[in-house]
């Protein structure tokens, strides 16, 4: 380290701990690469989400005028069944009498209906998506006079609340409005 170095420029005043220009270039390049990969990956991930035409099918109207007390119908909404039930007084009373604090998913009957005699909900078990039985007369209704999911044995009461079995939530109440006394718009 004597005169060999004498002709080369003096060592720069660079401190080992200071980032160099090279570090800076490296970090910017890596950062840009990460952003590019992310922005090209997203379209490939997002294409799996529901497409615009699927999203467009989002409301349906149902005339329930002919539905007698104690009867129920099932309509399709966004590829899923919706249960509409004209409840009897007995069913309404049962639903209201329940001690809400002992429920898994604590909801009063009032929170689940707009008009007590009309119960509108998505007919898809909140466990793993089967269609519970209990819509047709003669089908099993479970231990709580509502619906029974045969797949893994979830019992729902006459308000569609989960009472027994593996399902975590009450049957979902979709957005709906009464367009008139007997015309319901779902969605």
């Amino acid at each position: 380290m004597t005169d060999q170095n004498s002709s080369s420029p003096p060592p720069s005043a660079h401190d080992e701990n200071e980032p160099t220009r090279r570090d800076f270039l490296f970090l910017t390049a890596a950062g840009m690469a990460a952003v590019s990969v992310g922005s090209i990956a997203w379209p490939f991930i997002d294409q799996w989400n529901p497409a615009k035409d699927t999203l467009a099918l989002s409301s349906t109207e149902v005339d329930v005028a002919s539905l007698q007390e104690g009867q129920a119908i099932t309509v399709m909404w966004r590829g899923k069944p919706v249960f509409i039930r004209h409840r009897t007084q007995k069913e309404i009373d049962e639903a209201k009498a329940v001690d809400v604090t002992a429920l898994r998913d604590k909801q009063t009957d009032d929170e689940r209906v707009k008009k007590p005699q009309w119960l509108v909900m998505v007919g898809v078990c909140t466990h793993l998506g089967c269609i519970p039985l209990g819509q047709k007369t003669g089908e099993v209704k479970g231990d709580y006079d509502g619906w029974f999911c045969p797949c893994h044995g979830s019992h729902y009461d006459s308000s569609g609340r989960i009472r027994k079995g593996p399902a975590p939530k009450n049957l979902e109440v979709p957005q709906y409005t009464f367009v008139s006394d007997t015309l319901i718009r779902i969605g």
Partner: protein, 489 residues
């Protein structure tokens, strides 16, 4: 200079011409011709080759089916029926594919059992084992999506139930499910993407199989004694000894497979899948294909929510297992301190369960849900597969083969019985006693990996090992001869 300098020339001119340019024949000769292979393989060693044959069969028949199949919710069912009735030999190709999935799983399950029984997952073959479990996982995904394609009732509802599992993930779960469906229910978008994935995943499997075999050829095969190869006296060249043995086993396997294809093609399937998918009617009893039943039973065995008391109890037991059982140097299982930990956590677990099953008792905190049943089931099911991945670190006993480990052998055979029992429970409705049997069996499944194997690794005294593979073979022959002599006398 290239990388094939130390190549021996072939006599055949054409082969030599190719080999000079791409030494594929040198490679084949090294890996499948002379490849030194332990001389004492039994028939359990046939199932790797059989699984390979099944993968090729599935790809060939699958591509053929795809030439006639229509991946659209309105036409899929009819296109499969058309394959069955109108396409020339369509019925045969479909039955080969349909039963092929079952026989592929049969081969792979036996292959996995072989690995567990003879300790093939142990050092230095851990990565080989992990690649194998990866193949198994990919096969499950592939078979699940394939089963959706005919768009029958079981296709549709199986897909609904399994995709809904992901809704158990906190917060993002429901979003993930709609993302997978491409809609608000299993529908055409779902069918379409499943077809695409079902088409491509087998090729991913083929790539992982390649790595699996590569890793095998680096470490060399294990053998029924679990002893390392010590020299040429322990091995035979792969060809002709094992090419022929593999071929023989394959013929027997394919004979049974053909019996199913030709005489009972629907015996392993569910008749409901010949009813077109109907999103408004759930079949009364949804069952997956037989090869998923064990995992399905584990999924359903968590039929209760986890409350904080229960989790505190499990936490205490987990602490005990991790600190005392897993520690190689500790044997103070029943010291006063540890008994207190176990006692307290056992008591908390019990209280948690009582509170969960008798909500009318209003035991404090037991109506608070930390992990809901659905998520618990999903975690247990994925955990059950996950445990296979970490098996090499659960069982660290230096002796590989169960032949010389009577306790391990007993625990493993009981584990197999439990896996079969879970399969049976998975086929039963989730009512009455079945969920409870499923819960107990799931408990053993988990404990086998997490408690029994670590304890055996620490304490099991192995039987005396033979000096070498060759010695073991000679001993066996001597024993056989002695037996014969005794009979003759």
């Amino acid at each position: 200079m290239g990388s094939n300098s130390d190549r021996k020339p072939f006599n055949n001119k054409t082969i030599e011409w190719i080999d000079q340019r791409l030494p594929i024949f040198t490679m084949l000769d090294k890996e499948y011709g002379k490849f030194p292979t332990p001389r004492n393989f039994n028939y359990f060693w046939n199932f790797g080759a059989i699984a390979m044959f099944m993968l090729v069969t599935m790809i060939v028949t699958g591509i053929t089916l795809a030439m006639h199949y229509t991946p659209h919710a309105n036409y899929a069912f009819d296109s499969v029926e058309r394959i069955m009735r109108d396409v020339n030999f369509g019925w045969l190709i479909r039955y080969i594919h349909m039963n092929g999935a079952s026989f592929f799983f049969i081969a792979v399950y036996i292959h996995i059992f072989r690995g567990m029984y003879y300790g093939s997952f142990k050092q230095p073959r851990e990565l080989l084992w992990i690649l194998g479990v990866t193949i198994f996982l990919l096969m499950m995904a592939t078979a699940f999506m394939g089963y959706v394609l005919p768009w029958g009732q079981m296709s549709f509802w199986g897909a609904t139930v399994i995709t809904n599992l992901f809704s158990a993930v906190p917060i993002v779960g429901p979003g993930i499910v709609e993302w997978m469906w491409g809609g608000f229910a299993v529908d055409n978008a779902t069918l379409n993407r499943f077809f695409s994935l079902h088409f491509v995943l087998p090729f991913v499997i083929a790539a992982v199989v390649f790595l699996h075999v590569w890793a095998l050829h680096v470490t060399g095969s294990n053998n029924p004694t679990g002893l390392d190869v010590k020299g040429p006296q322990d091995t035979l060249p792969f060809n002709p000894y094992y090419t022929i043995k593999d071929l023989f086993g394959l013929i027997v396997f394919v004979a049974v497979y053909a019996m199913f294809i030709f005489f009972m093609p629907n015996a392993l399937g569910h008749p409901d899948n010949y009813i077109p998918a109907n999103p408004l009617v759930t079949p009364p009893h949804i069952v997956p294909e037989w090869y998923f039943l064990t995992f399905y039973a584990i999924l359903r065995s968590i039929f209760f929510d986890f409350n904080p008391i229960m989790l505190a109890g499990f936490g205490g037991i987990g602490y005990y297992v991790a600190k005392v059982v897993w520690d190689k140097n500790r044997t103070d299982y029943f010291s006063t301190r540890n008994l207190i930990i176990l006692g307290v956590s056992g008591f908390l677990t019990l209280v948690g369960f009582v509170g969960a099953f008798f909500p009318q008792l209003h035991i404090p905190l037991t109506n608070m849900v930390i992990i809901e049943a659905k998520l618990g089931g999903v975690l247990a099911m994925f955990g059950a597969v996950g445990l296979l991945f970490v098996l090499p670190w659960c069982d660290t006993h230096p002796v590989r083969s169960a032949r010389y480990r009577p306790l391990y052998k007993a625990a493993l055979l009981f584990f197999v019985a439990i896996v079969l029992l879970l399969g049976y429970v998975g086929a039963m409705p989730a009512e009455g006693i079945w969920p409870w049997i499923g819960l107990a069996a799931t408990g053993y499944y988990m404990a086998f990996f997490l408690v029994i194997l670590p304890i055996l690794s620490k304490h099991e005294k192995a039987l005396p090992l033979p000096a070498s593979i060759a010695q073991a073979v000679l001993d066996e022959q001597a024993a056989k001869a002695a037996k014969l002599a005794k009979k003759g006398a």
